[in-house]
Structures are given as structure tokens and as C-alpha cells.
């Protein structure tokens, strides 16, 4: 299983029946595959969909129906379409139970930086800032480190923030980490990793609540 699939599979477990969910860009396609069949959940897409389904069967794409990332989804029974103002009213108005976002950096206090590397990378803001700031629960899905092996989970973000103190949980290919009042708390370990590896690849102190590595839930 690729690291992307591993993250998506674990992320899908965070989704509870009846919730309104935004899966961010990129993740939807993968996470949808891991949701139980007929899970009663309403997937929100920024471009004006509530009730997004799995990716279309090839050849059944509808030119009038994309998700916020440009892919062609199905919609579920009970879906609705609306304009961009109403779409973000769902987000900012407190009706979005959980949002998933990728990131460049995330800090131990829950700060998130995922939209700009000054002078290098700035494709814009999109809906991420509103999702980060206003979702009732924000889960970051990301590789544990950059391609160069640098930690993405840090004591403080070095990049301009997307939103302050907004992250609730971080899911990587190696670990599940919660942002708590006391700091970052390691909750689960991937089957392929060790406690040492996770600690070494994390750029901030981890609260490790289990005596032995073997005590950790694995995913």
C-alpha cells in the first residue's frame, strides 16, 4: 500500500455516520475508496456540492460536475448543489463537522502553514484558510517529512500561517498525533515504523503515553 493510500485509509476511519465532511484537495478520491459502502455521510466540496460520492466510473464523467480539485465525482442520494457563497457559509457557519487538509508545516500548538513559500510557491489561497479556521474538527493528512526528509511537524511554523491553533489531529504514513493543551500526543503508530523513527522524524517533542512501543495501537 502506498503511503498516500495508507494515510487515506486511516483518515477514512475518522469519519462518523451523519457527519458533514470536507476531504480537501487530492485526498477525496482516495479516502472515498476506504469509506464503508453506503456510509451515511455528506461530503462537501467547496465548488458547491453537498453529498459528493466516489470518483465516476470511466466514461460516465459529467462535464458539469467536478470536485474542488477538478476530478469527476458521483453524487449520492440526497445531494444538493449551491453557489460558492452558500458553500462557504456551510464551512464558516459551523456546519462542517470535520475537514481534512494537507500541509507544508504544522506546529505543536496546532498552527498550520500550507499555502505559501514566500518567493517560491504561492498558487493562491483557495478554500483552505476557511476550512482550517472554521471546521469543527481539523485533521491534517500529510507525509511525516518533506521529500528531503525534513520534519513537517515542528515546534513552530517557519512559513506564513494558514490559520492559528486550528489543528486537532495529524495523520501521516507513520503516526497519528493529536494536538493537545499539553502539546503533541502520539496516539497510534503505523505498522511499518518504530517509536524511535517517529520521534526522530518529528520536529517537536511528542508526549508518549505508552510505556512500551508494543502498547501503541497500530494502523
Amino acid at each position: 500500500m502506498s503511503y498516500k493510500n495508507k494515510i487515506a485509509k486511516r483518515a477514512a476511519e475518522e469519519i462518523l455516520p451523519g457527519q458533514v465532511i470536507n476531504l480537501g484537495i487530492g485526498l477525496p478520491t482516495l479516502a472515498m475508496e476506504y469509506l464503508p459502502e453506503n456510509m451515511p455521510v455528506m461530503i462537501h466540496s467547496e465548488n458547491g456540492i453537498l453529498g459528493m460520492g466516489k470518483p465516476c466510473e470511466n466514461g460516465r464523467e459529467d462535464r458539469n460536475l467536478i470536485d474542488a480539485g477538478g476530478s469527476y465525482p458521483e453524487v449520492v442520494t440526497g445531494a444538493s448543489f449551491f453557489d460558492s457563497a452558500l458553500s462557504f457559509s456551510i464551512v464558516r457557519g459551523g456546519r462542517l463537522d470535520t475537514a481534512f487538509l494537507g500541509t507544508l508545516e504544522v506546529a505543536e500548538n496546532g498552527d498550520l502553514a500550507n499555502w505559501i513559500i514566500p518567493g517560491k510557491f504561492s498558487p493562491g489561497i483557495g478554500g483552505g484558510m476557511e476550512l482550517a479556521q472554521k471546521a469543527k474538527r481539523l485533521i491534517i493528512t500529510t507525509t511525516h517529512t518533506t521529500r528531503k526528509g525534513e520534519a513537517k511537524i515542528l515546534k513552530r511554523c517557519t512559513l506564513p500561517l494558514t490559520a492559528k491553533e486550528c489543528v486537532d489531529r495529524i495523520i501521516t504514513e507513520l503516526a497519528v498525533v493529536d494536538v493537545t493543551e499539553a502539546g503533541l500526543e502520539l496516539k497510534e503508530l503505523a505498522e511499518e515504523t518504530t517509536l524511535d523513527e517517529v520521534i526522530q522524524k518529528t520536529g517537536a517533542p511528542l508526549i508518549v503515553p505508552h510505556d512500551r512501543e508494543a502498547s501503541f495501537p497500530r494502523f
Partner: protein, 235 residues
Amino acid sequence: MKKINKWISMEEALEGIQSQQSIMVGGFGVPGTPFTLLQALAEKKLNQLTLIKNEANEAGMGISNLIEAKMVTKLITSHLGLNSTVIKMMNNNEILVDFFPQGILAEKIRAGGAGLAGILTDIGIDTILSRDKEIIMVDGKKAMVEKALRADVALVHAAKADRAGNLVYTKSARNFNPIMAMAADIVIAEAEEIVETGEIDPDQVHTPAAFVDRLVAINEITREYEVLESHVIQK
């Protein structure tokens, strides 16, 4: 897996609604007023409520019943022209009434639903309405700060709903219902018809299910919902 089903009993729908809460009520005159929910609410004998509604219905109808029963301390509204009973109560200080221009009341509610802190408007800028308002300059022109308005509860009336909570309104019964359905912590909808999820065209949903928490069916179109003979022009 179970499908999402928000259709519950009236008792369950009103559970937890308490005295001192703020309650938005849809409707402009008779059309869109959730009379069935209001009737059930009136029976709960609450007090010190703050109501938010375009008008106060007419004496003996809708929210006027709650006001006349002294359940309401404050009313946030646009106009009471058709309710001399509530005007009298206002003049006798039996109820506090906050008036806003109708469209600004709508925008304040919508801003609450849209998760904004407020709006900036020049409506009323040269009138006594601007007296207690914060004024800022926007592009060299004065604008009043109007804060977003939210409530603990919203009661709305729909022509049709599906079990998931998607709502469709009809004709002039839409009015404040869609924006109030966005702007409360608990949104309770009554519907004249409840259909299976999937029967409403996704392009024709007026209020998406995400905004609706509880749904009740109207068992009977009672007299209050019907044409008001006093407003019929005899030709």
C-alpha cells in the same frame, strides 16, 4: 447502514428549547410561518424568549400568541404594521422591540449564517438609526457596522423536505426561511410533505441538509395557514 433521517416527533424536535433562548422564526405574514412548531412551542410555557421575525404575524396568530402570553421579552423585527396588539404592548413597555430595515435584518441573519462578524451598510446612515451604530469609512463613504445575528434555535416552514433534511420552499413562503435556516445552532423545520431522500432534484434544493438538524411533519394544514379573509379584496 442506516440512511440519514432527521424526521422525528414534535416532542423530540422541541427538546432542549429553554426559557431565555433566542429563536428565529421564518415567515412573512402567513406564508412561511411555522404555525405548527409555534403552537407546540407555545404549549411549553417558556418565558424571557428573544424572538427574531420579520413581523409579529397578526393578533392571535403565530408569534403573536407567544408575545401575548408574555413569553417574549424582546422582539427583533422589521415592521409591526399589521399587529396593533403588539404595537400596544411595545408602547406599554411590555415587550422590547428592536427594529431594522427589512433587508438589513435579512443581511444580518444571513451574515450570522455565513459565519461573518457583520456587514457594512449605508442604509439608514442619515437617520436616527445610525445614532448608536459604529460608523467607519469605506472608500471615502460612511458605512454602519451591522453585527451578524444568530440564534439558539430557528423554526422554519418548508413546502417539502426529504428525510435527510433538504428543504424546498414555495412562492412567497420562502422569504426569511432559507437564511434563518443557516443562522441558528439548532434548526428545526416543519414540512408540509416529507419525501424519501433522493426525490428532490439536487439543483432545486433551497436549503441543503447540512443546515437542518430536526424535521417534523405538519399533520394538518390548520386554519392559520389558510388564506386570510380579511386580506382578500372583494371586487
